[in-house]
Subunit: 206 residues, 2 copies
DNA sequence: AATTGTATCAAACGAACGTTTGAATTGCTT
DNA sequence: AAGCAATTCAAACGTTCGTTTGATACAATT
C-alpha cells in the first residue's frame, strides 16, 4: 500500500473519486484527505486542479492508445493489403473494454472516468484526439476503409463515429453496471466485447 | 421577449447555460443574473438547485417521449403484426434529432444538455427511464424484436442499447458541431438522421 | 379601499472551494 | 555530521457557492 509515492496515491485517489462522484463531485480537499496527504501536496506535485485532472486522463489514455496502435501494427505486419474488418474493430474496441479486467491498474474505474470525461472534459479530450492521438485514429479509419472498400469514405467516417459512441456508452454502463446482474462480471465483459464487435461489423458491412 | 414568465425565463436560461458551460459551470447566481431576475426567485419557483435541473430535463424529455410514443402508435395502427425495422428506428431516432430544428423551443440547446446529463445526472436519468418512460422504451424494444424475429431477444436488447449510445453520442456532437463544417447545418442534420438510421438498420439485420 | 395570496427583491448566513505562503520535515549528497 | 534540495504540513487568503430571511411590491378578490 504505502510503497506508492504520494504522487501516485493522488492520481489513483482522484481517479476513484471521479468515478464515484463525477468531476463536479471532487475537490482537492476531498482528494488530499482520501489520499491521506496534505492539501498543498496536490498543487506542489501537479500545479493546479485542472492539471491534476489532465494527468489522470493522460496516464490511462496514453496506455490505451499505445495498445491499440500495437494491436493494429500486429495485424498489418503479415499482409499489408487485406484487412479483416472484424480484427481491426477488435484492435480498437477490445483494449478499451479489457482495461476493465486489469486489476493492477484501476481499469474499470477509468472506464467510468472516461465516460464522464466525454461530457465534462470534452474540450480537453477533443484537443487530445486531434493532436496526440490523431495518427492512431487516422490509421484505424484507413484500415477500416480498406476492409470495406465498397463503402465510400464518408460513410465509413460516419459509422466509425457511431461505433465510438456505442463504445463510450457501453463503457459508461460498465461502471454503473446497471443491467443484467445475473451474469458474472467477467462473463458480462466478454459478452459485451463480442456483442459490440458483432454490432459494429454488422453496421459496417452493407 | 418579456411576455415570458419569470419561471419560463429561468428554465430557458438554465438550459442555455448548461449547454454552454456544463452542469458544473452553472450556479443559481449566474442563472438568476442571466435571466434578469433575483437570486431568491429560483428557490421560490423551484425549491432548490437540483429541482430546477430536474425541471429543465423533464420539460423536454416528456415532450420527446410523447412524440416517440405517438409515432410508434401511428406505425402500429395499420398492421399489428408486421413491423418495418426502419420505421421503428425512425420513430425512436428522428424525434430526438429533429428536436434540434425546432427553433421555437431551444431544441438544439437541449441536445447538448441531454448529452451532458448522461454523464453528470446519470442517476436521475436512469431513474426517469425506469419509471416514467419505461413503458415507451419497452414498447420500442418489443417492436424492434418483432421486426427482426430471427434474432434472439437478448441480442436485440444489446444492440438497441448500443444504438442508444450512438444516438446519444451523435446528439452530443451536434451541439459541439466539431466536424465537417462544409455542409450547411440542416443538411448535416438530415444526413445524420439518415446515416444513423442506416447504421442501426445494418447493425440489427444479421 | 382593504385584504389576501403571489411574486420579487436586497441582504446576510455559514460552508466549501482553489490557491498561496512560509515554516517544518525528510532524504540524499558531500 | 553538515548542507541542500525535495517534500510535507498547518494556516490563512479571498472568492464563490446554495439557501434563508424578512421586507417590499404587485395582483386579484371581497
Amino acid at each position: 500500500m504505502s510503497t506508492l509515492s504520494t504522487k501516485e496515491r493522488i492520481l489513483n485517489t482522484t481517479e476513484q473519486l471521479i468515478a464515484d462522484k463525477g468531476f463536479s463531485g471532487i475537490s482537492i480537499r476531498k482528494i488530499s484527505h482520501a489520499a491521506q496527504t496534505n492539501l498543498a501536496a496536490i498543487n506542489y506535485h501537479f500545479g493546479n486542479k485542472q492539471q491534476l485532472i489532465n494527468a489522470v486522463l493522460e496516464r490511462r489514455l496514453n496506455n490505451l492508445f499505445d495498445i491499440r496502435q500495437k494491436m493494429l501494427n500486429d495485424l498489418n505486419q503479415g499482409k499489408k493489403k487485406a484487412c479483416v474488418l472484424e480484427q481491426v474493430l477488435h484492435a480498437f474496441i477490445a483494449p478499451a473494454l479489457y482495461m476493465i479486467n486489469d486489476k493492477n491498474q484501476g481499469g474499470k474505474t477509468f472506464m467510468l472516468v472516461l465516460a464522464r470525461a466525454y461530457a465534462e472534459q470534452g474540450e480537453y479530450l477533443h484537443q487530445l484526439m486531434t493532436t496526440r492521438y490523431t495518427n492512431t485514429i487516422k490509421k484505424f479509419a484507413d484500415a477500416i476503409h480498406r476492409s470495406v472498400p465498397h463503402l465510400d469514405k464518408e460513410t465509413v467516417f460516419w459509422r466509425f463515429h457511431f461505433i465510438i459512441g456505442s463504445l463510450t456508452y457501453a463503457m459508461s454502463d460498465f461502471g454503473a453496471s446497471s443491467i443484467s446482474k445475473q451474469m458474472s462480471e467477467s462473463d458480462y465483459f466478454n459478452r459485451s466485447v463480442d456483442e459490440l464487435i458483432q454490432f459494429a461489423v454488422q453496421a459496417l458491412q452493407a
